[in-house]
């Protein structure tokens, strides 16, 4: 009978009376392996650029000022909080924090810049081996991402050889 169904359906509410949570008055706790904003620890970072190579959104830029100094810059604009950077980091220098209230109108609040002093390998200058062959295939040697304009630059080898570099986020409309 339809009336019985309707009565049963309205009684469903009695199993759980009021479930509305009082957010944002009360902050909601998150589970232990919640993936919030990544925090980079400059003290642990060895400048391997594994995080930059494995970021699917290309949001971590790397720039070599000279043989000894490398800048690693996390932009955070398109970051999807996937946690690949934290997985790949050999020194566990990246932690996916529990911060999820990341809204801000100044992107500089989120971006993090690390100046890393690199010690050089005697033979080739510097080395990094990825844990998986698929990750190792992304080695790029010297890095010259465009920090002025916050742009990822592909094929830094091409940069050295003077080939035109491929632009990223900013697409200039001509005419």
């Amino acid at each position: 009978m339809s009336v019985m169904s309707k009565l049963k359906e309205s009684m469903v509410c009695l199993t759980a009376w009021r479930v509305t949570l009082p957010y944002p008055v009360q902050a909601q706790p998150v589970p232990a392996n919640f993936r919030g904003r990544p925090i980079f620890d400059a003290n642990k970072c060895i400048g391997c650029a594994g995080c930059a190579n494995n970021c699917p959104a290309r949001e971590i830029l790397v720039y070599d000022v000279c043989q000894e100094v490398r800048i690693v810059k996390y932009l955070g604009r398109r970051c999807t909080y996937c946690g690949r950077c934290a997985d790949v980091c050999p020194e566990k220098a990246i932690k996916m924090s529990h911060e999820y209230e990341n809204g801000t109108n100044a992107v500089t609040d989120i971006s993090q810049k690390l100046d890393i002093f690199m010690s050089t390998c005697q033979r080739c200058g510097r080395c990094f081996k990825g844990s998986q062959v698929l990750d190792a295939l992304k080695m790029k040697g010297y890095r010259f991402d465009d920090l002025q304009n916050d742009r990822w630059v592909f094929h830094s080898q091409a940069y050295l050889e003077g080939e035109p570099t491929v632009d990223d986020i900013k697409i200039e409309l001509e005419g």
Binding site: E9, S10, R18, V19
Partner: protein
């Protein structure tokens, strides 16, 4: 004569003011109880007041085909409902008793329905036209039910005066008031449609035709329409109570008055629970339903005219 006129006017004003003050409160109760049935917190009971203030303070944008007609339809809808409020007894005798009779009441109610049609036509968008075609079809089958009730009351008491019709006239047949009981059942089954709530709110089905006739209304015009809808809930409850459950209204003030509002509260709760537990009917299904009720109503009318 002068004091009579004065009491009439003051009484009418009192009714109007009470309706205006109290209508959003009942709407708030409706929303709160619906929320609790849905296991959520729901807005505070004062929320409809806040909503109306907010809408009234917004810019009055002119969209739609005929803005003049839109404004006219808006004001007319609230005005007709409030006029009905003046005529109906709400806890004490109907203030404007001599000013009109039950036939006027029926016409005013039809007029308030027509305001919705005017509103949709004046807006002129595809979805509002679809909405008013639904409204027209529904009105044709629905309004007669109310008229039949009044006529039955009038037949029993041989008078169209509002104070006689609205003191349980439907029950005043000789012996068992069969027609009265039938009409009680019919009106209970169709009350939801008169106040335009689920399952009979297909004219403004949000998910299907995007608010239908009210599509081009925003800001103050929308506030007045919403106000009219809230007032409709209270006024129709008052009509229902006056017709079918009038006992206790002749207690001295304030007891009769309080009892009246308790009855309205119970009726609003019934509307809420029904609205929360049903899916919306399609227009053709709803019309079949109303047509069946209309047939039953005609049977009751025939019984009444033979003294039952």
């Amino acid at each position: 004569m002068d004091t009579n006129l004065l009491t009439m006017i003051l009484g009418g004003l009192a009714n109007v003011i009470v309706v205006l003050l109290v209508a959003p409160f009942f709407q708030g109760i409706l929303r709160k109880v619906t929320a609790r049935i849905q296991s959520r917190q729901g807005p505070p009971i004062r929320q409809p007041y806040y909503d109306l203030f907010k809408l009234l303070g917004k810019e009055d944008i002119e969209s739609g085909v005929s803005p003049v007609m839109q404004r006219f339809a808006t004001y007319l809808s609230l005005a007709t409902i409030l006029t009905v409020g003046c005529l109906v007894p709400m806890g004490f005798k109907a203030p404007m008793n001599g000013a009109g009779d039950a036939i006027l009441l029926v016409y005013l109610l039809t007029l308030s329905g027509i305001c919705m049609l005017l509103a949709g036509l004046a807006a002129g968008s595809t979805y509002s036209l679809v909405g008013i075609s639904r409204e027209m079809m529904a009105m044709l089958t629905l309004e007669p039910l109310f008229a039949i009730t009044i006529v039955i009351g009038a037949l029993h008491t041989q008078s169209f005066r509002i104070d006689t019709v609205f003191s349980g006239a439907v029950y005043q047949a000789a012996g068992l008031p069969v027609s009265g009981i039938i009409m009680l059942g019919v009106m209970l089954l169709s009350f939801q449609a008169f106040v335009q709530r689920v399952p009979f709110d297909m004219t403004e089905a949000e998910t299907e035709i995007m608010e239908g006739p009210l599509m081009e209304y925003s800001g103050p015009k929308l506030a007045i329409f919403k106000y009219a809808q809230m007032a409709k809930l209270v006024v129709f409850s008052a009509l229902f109570i006056g017709l079918f459950v009038p006992w206790g209204s002749d207690l001295i003030f304030p007891f009769g008055w309080i009892l009246f509002w308790v009855k309205v509260f119970i009726l609003v709760l019934m509307v809420t629970v029904l609205a929360a537990t049903h899916a919306r009917y399609r227009i053709d299904q709803a019309i079949r339903y109303f047509a069946a009720l209309l047939a039953v109503g005609f049977v009751a009318l025939i019984l009444a005219s033979n003294g039952f």
